[in-house]
């Protein structure tokens, strides 16, 4: 009888492998740009998620309502293009057996595509897209029940830090440079809002924009210099940020460049070379093995993907922690049904030890009048990073305790 059962199981698993598997796995979709200008963030995020999933599966999987299930990832490359991202969201939300989605780098894609998830009630953890609009759109729409959660230091926090930094460095006049995408435009608005909020101590003397693909930024920089800017506050992605840095060097315009966390992208750091040194940006994670909490993750990532430097450390760490949190939510829900997963993400009981910090109830029940209910990061989780000879280091060594996780969010 035992032998018969074994043969039957064997037959089933070979001939109907896909059908038999479907019931025993938790399907999680990972979407993001795995090619194009935003690829360092997309690829690092995906690889961070994969690393967490591999580790969970090696231990057997997730205990879902008494049954141990392995996680299966479904990957989709949105190429950073809004229309493609929206198509992928439609595809995934119609699959029917997806437990949750992790991903999205480009704010425009969250704005165009997330409605399909909301319609079907599918849980999505947005990481690492930071543009404010991807969450505030649901406040404006007045959504009462939201399955979208963010796991990234949103631009509101980042703009606050950038303005604080410029003030701390003694700047009076600043220029804002931004790209013409949803991300750049909403970053500009966040900066202007923050400057007012912090008492208007900074004066914006120039606001200049540039397009994706622009290589020559001298025009914008000449105007910023002529207006007397003492710092550039900048919102864009890698290749164009690099063009700004080299234009600055060409003109001998030596003012600090402070901007969104995209200044930590490898395609900024590599293309800008020495001209990128000193650029400042908010970070939730620093690739520094001397930080005890981060060490094992960094080493595992380097080993798994054969690199000595993570293309976008923040994306990788956020992807990793997001996957851990999602796995815990599915365990607590005891089900892979999106509505149950959402309910347990709203109210996580167990503190999850991540590589960024100890996550103690990162989200709470959605309230459209308070976007922070579905935002995991606060100002206290975030530090200033600085580009130095091809890597991102802590701008302020005293911030090390934040990354060690000794300052828990309140």
């Amino acid at each position: 009888m035992k032998a018969f059962r074994f043969i039957l199981a064997l037959l089933l698993s070979t001939s109907f492998s896909s059908g038999a598997m479907a019931a025993d796995v938790v399907k999680i979709a990972v979407t993001g740009p795995f090619s194009g200008g935003s690829a360092p963030m997309g690829v690092s995020m995906r690889d961070g998620v994969k690393l967490a999933v591999t580790q969970i599966n090696q231990k057997g999987g997730i205990n879902v309502g008494g049954k141990t299930m392995k996680i299966e990832l479904i990957e989709r490359d949105d190429e950073g293009k809004n229309d493609r991202g929206a198509l992928i969201a439609q595809e995934i939300s119609s699959m029917g057996d997806i437990a949750a989605v992790i991903g999205t780098v480009n704010t425009g894609i969250a704005v165009m595509g997330d409605k399909y998830y909301v319609e079907k009630g599918i849980v999505k953890i947005i990481t690492p897209a930071a543009g404010s609009a991807s969450m505030t759109q649901w406040c404006i729409a007045g959504a009462t029940d939201l399955p979208i959660f963010r796991f990234a230091a949103h631009d509101g926090i980042q703009a606050q830090m950038v303005v604080e930094q410029a003030t701390k460095m003694g700047c009076k006049n600043v220029a804002i440079l931004h790209d013409a995408t949803n991300y750049g435009v909403s970053g500009r608005d966040d900066l202007v809002k923050q400057i007012q909020k912090q008492g208007g101590r900074l004066k914006v003397v120039a606001i200049e924009k540039f397009a994706i693909g622009d290589k020559d930024m001298t025009g914008q920089l000449i105007k910023a210099r002529a207006a007397g800017a003492q710092a550039l506050l900048i919102w864009g992605i890698g290749p164009e940020l690099a063009a700004v840095a080299s234009g600055k060097q060409k003109l001998g315009f030596r003012v600090p460049m402070i901007g969104g966390w995209t200044l930590s992208m490898s395609n900024f750091i590599d293309t800008a070379g020495p001209s990128g040194n000193g650029a400042l940006m908010p970070q939730t994670f620093i690739e520094d093995e001397s930080i005890a909490r981060a060490r094992s993750f960094i080493q595992a990532y380097h080993k798994a993907y054969g690199v000595t430097r993570i293309p976008s450390p923040v994306s990788a760490a956020q992807g990793y922690d997001a996957a851990l949190l999602l796995a815990e939510a599915i365990r607590e829900a005891g089900s892979t049904r999106p509505s149950n997963v959402k309910a347990s993400l709203d109210n996580l009981k167990v503190t999850v030890k991540g590589t960024i910090t100890d996550w103690k109830k990162p989200w709470s029940k959605w309230d459209p009048s308070n976007v922070e209910t579905h935002e995991a990061f606060r100002r206290t989780n975030t530090v200033m990073g600085k580009v130095q000879n091809g890597r991102v280091v802590l701008a302020n060594p005293a911030d090390r305790i934040v990354l060690e996780g000794k300052m828990l969010k309140n």
């Binding site: 200008g37 397009a211 290589k215 020559d216 001298t218 590599d270």
Partner: protein, 294 residues
């Protein structure tokens, strides 16, 4: 000097230097048009492939000059290949199929580059020093100077070769009158192949000098073909000196209009100038009116 003027001068100089790269690509059009009466509408993609070839060779730790020469050899081979596969047959059949065929070869090149090298923009290493030089308050970087020197250098070399080598004179003879040249014992087919190879070589070289300024990516040449073609048409298809002037003028106009009107308007005035030039002097600003006697 007042700052407003200085800013405009800075924009004009930066644009003009980049415009010399347009001129070099346009020169490739001129070469093949003279000999074979056809041009490669995938010329921009040859620029891109040349840049990638140079990048691959220099990541293989070859010295800069070897990588550039290697890229030029690849470009020459590709130019020859385009003529052989996309142009010759169409011209023999006296149809205009080569226009579409060269565009198709260009599209293939983009797909191939995406699959071989990926879609990311990559920096192109050079031995030039970091930082910029300043002339009368105008900053110029070493890679920008390299574009000017490279474009002038390669065009001068090819022009000299056209005048003082046997092969060059043969190409000129074929340009003037293919049948008469053949009666003198010149193999016009080889002469045309040679001009396509030289055209491909100059495109690849253009790629290696543009790339340090713009970075290398499969779409780096997306608008380059059109701009270079405008330069070739405005200058006329038989004056290499005119090409340089038209290239510099287009590059400078683009930069200045981007500065004054906003970066979205960069391309517009250049295109308006193109239309005006075509309306007023259809043979090109520096072109000769060809009188055909029947």
């Amino acid at each position: 000097m007042n700052t407003e003027f200085l800013a405009l001068a800075q924009m004009a100089v930066g644009g003009g230097l980049m415009g010399m790269a347009y001129a070099l690509v346009a020169y490739g059009f001129q070469l093949t048009h003279a000999a074979g009466k056809a041009v490669n509408f995938g010329q921009g993609e040859l620029v891109m492939l040349g840049a990638f070839a140079g990048l691959s060779l220099s990541t293989a730790a070859l010295p800069y000059w070897v990588s550039v020469s290697g890229a030029m050899a690849v470009g020459a081979a590709l130019g020859w290949f385009v003529e052989r596969t996309a142009v010759r047959l169409a011209l023999q059949q006296r149809n205009e199929g080569w226009i579409l065929l060269t565009i198709i070869v260009g599209l293939f090149a983009v797909s191939a580059a995406e699959n071989i090298w990926g879609r990311e923009d990559k920096p192109f290493p050079t031995p030039w020093p970091e930082g910029a030089l300043e002339f009368f308050g105008i900053s110029v970087t070493w890679p920008e100077l390299a574009i000017a020197a490279g474009a002038l250098g390669i065009m001068t070399l090819v022009e000299l070769a056209k005048r003082y080598t046997m092969a060059g004179i043969a190409v000129q003879a074929v340009s003037a009158d293919q049948d008469a040249a053949e009666l003198c014992g010149i193999r016009s087919r080889s002469a045309i192949s040679l001009s396509w190879a030289i055209s491909g070589m100059s495109a690849a070289f253009a790629g290696t000098i543009i790339a340090p300024v713009t970075t290398v990516g499969p779409t780096m040449a997306a608008s380059l073909t059109l701009k270079a073609f405008s330069v070739a048409v405005v200058a006329g298809l038989d004056s290499s000196f005119g090409l340089l002037l038209a290239g510099i003028a287009l590059g400078a106009t683009e930069n200045i209009s981007g500065f004054l009107l906003g970066s979205g308007w960069r391309e517009a005035p250049g295109l308006i100038l193109l239309i005006l030039a075509l309306a007023l002097r259809p043979q090109g600003l520096f072109g000769k009116k060809i009188i055909r006697k029947v």
